[in-house]
């Protein structure tokens, strides 16, 4: 076995995963907070007002990172769901299920901030165009996965059923992303590109990217925190979990 798979196996073993993430999580949250605050300072204080939207555009600094985050969370969930269904790896099941609520939160923030932003810009909270509708469907997909996972008694069976659903729903992700180019919508088209020049001023771009980084770090911190709990629940019969429950081992909050 090469070192990578070896590492994966080691990290994938529940006690190790629990211990390592326990050490990691505080740092991740701290990093997310720090980077986020810098980004916010850049976005709210340093960046100038937009010539068209005046200061209302500042919603972009949370709306867009959260929108990306929601899509990323779904992809992350679907990848883990695929691994869980094909190779039946316990950690993947847990990671997939842990990313659903976090993704749902970010999607909800996107919807809420988008609606708030829409009021001054479009004159309405909500319209039924493709971008908005498909984003709403994304939220429903997350909620469906969470609901299905919670409604089935046996944890592993629940995880596999919900993973299956999540996998089926992946078709919605490209629809969300490309909806602005496939249909004509009220929502504006792609302005930030990773490859090629962005159509956005750099004084606005760097806070945006910093906040995107911060939300991604937050995502992993939160997913790990949730996974640890699920792991403890799932492995409740094992020695290591009992040691943690009794407090005879470090690593619980």
């Amino acid at each position: 076995m090469n070192t990578l798979t070896l590492w994966f196996h080691k990290f994938g073993s529940p006690p190790t995963f629990h211990r390592v993430t326990g050490l990691l999580i505080p740092w991740l949250f701290a990093a997310a907070l720090l980077i986020g605050l810098v980004g916010l300072y850049g976005g709210l204080v340093l960046a100038p007002a937009d010539y068209q939207q005046s200061d209302a555009y500042r919603i972009i600094f949370i709306h867009v990172p959260c929108a990306w985050m929601g899509l990323f969370a779904y992809i992350f969930m679907a990848v883990n769901a695929f691994i869980a269904l094909v190779w039946r790896i316990k950690i993947s099941e847990i990671l997939a299920m842990a990313s659903a609520p976090v993704g749902a939160w970010f999607t909800a923030i996107t919807l809420a901030t988008g609606a708030i932003w829409g009021k001054p810009m479009w004159g309405t909270w909500w319209t039924w165009d493709a971008r908005l509708t498909s984003e709403l469907v994304l939220l429903f997909l997350f909620l469906g996965v969470i609901g299905l996972y919670n409604a089935i008694e046996d944890r592993r069976q629940a995880a596999r059923a919900a993973a299956f659903l999540g996998l089926v729903g992946i078709v919605n992700v490209p629809i969300v992303h490309f909806s602005v180019s496939w249909w004509n919508t009220l929502h504006q088209g792609t302005t930030v590109r990773l490859l090629g020049p962005s159509r956005i001023d750099s004084s606005m771009l760097w806070p945006l990217l910093l906040l995107a980084l911060a939300t991604h770090i937050w995502f992993f911190a939160s997913v790990f925190a949730r996974s640890r709990v699920s792991l403890l629940e799932l492995e409740g019969g094992k020695e290591w979990a009992r040691a943690i429950a009794l407090g005879t081992e470090h690593g619980h909050e």
């Binding site: 046996d154 799932l234 409740g236 019969g237």
Partner: protein, 221 residues
């Protein structure tokens, strides 16, 4: 599987075991339900699974039928590994749920079972119903049968399908004395036909011929 050396001529070649469990264990959320079990069922064997309430009898039968996945160990049917995706005609399960449509009559229920599972040679629905003591109830919707009568319809299904391995979960519950005798007779005939059966029961009833083999399950800790 290996060819048997013909040194002792009187010994028949060892039969391929119908069911073979090796190190079979099941745990729910990592709490063990039944420990590693090893056992073999040859054609003609009837084994009584014994254990207190909650010792895992029902769970064992579900695992053996493929409805639950064991945590470790393997199950072989006629020498082949059991997976839910690749089932054979070999297993018939009689669970706590009868597997009967309450709105259909006894006869219609049996016809459906035959369609899905096939028909044992020489068997037919009407005689099967008669032999479980339900003559005259063929056209009654199962809903309006009593608890014991429903169980008898489920037993008639076993008689019809060609499965060689019967997994029976508390077949005696809800049956009157003649019903208990009936189950024993059916098991006897099935064994003589070369079938095998795994029966859970609380051990209050013995089989007819000889003492059956027993598979004790320890209670969960």
């Amino acid at each position: 599987m290996e060819p048997c050396p013909a040194m002792i001529a009187s010994d028949p070649p060892p039969p391929i075991p119908l069911l073979q469990a090796e190190g079979l264990a099941f745990a729910r959320n990592d709490e063990p339900v039944f420990g590693p079990l090893d056992f073999t069922l040859n054609p003609g064997d009837v084994v009584l699974v014994e254990g207190d309430n909650g010792s895992g009898k029902t769970t064992l039968l579900k695992v053996l039928s493929g409805l639950l996945q064991p945590n470790s160990g393997r199950i072989r049917l006629n020498g082949e590994d059991l997976t839910l995706a690749r089932l054979s005609h070999q297993v018939a399960l009689l669970g706590h749920l009868g597997g009967l449509k309450l709105d259909l009559t006894a006869l219609e229920n049996l016809r459906f079972a035959i369609g899905v599972f096939g028909l044992r040679s020489g068997a037919a629905p009407l005689p099967a119903l008669a032999s479980v003591g339900l003559e005259g109830y063929e056209d009654v919707p199962v809903r309006s049968l009593s608890a014991g009568q429903k169980k008898r319809v489920a037993l008639a299904r076993l008689l019809l399908v060609p499965a060689a391995l019967w997994l029976l979960d508390e077949p005696y519950a809800n049956l009157d004395k003649s019903g208990i005798d009936l189950v024993n007779r059916l098991l006897d005939a099935h064994a003589r036909r070369g079938g095998a059966a795994l029966v859970t029961s609380h051990g209050a009833y013995a089989f007819t011929s000889g003492t059956p083999r027993r598979l004790p399950l320890r209670p969960t800790p």
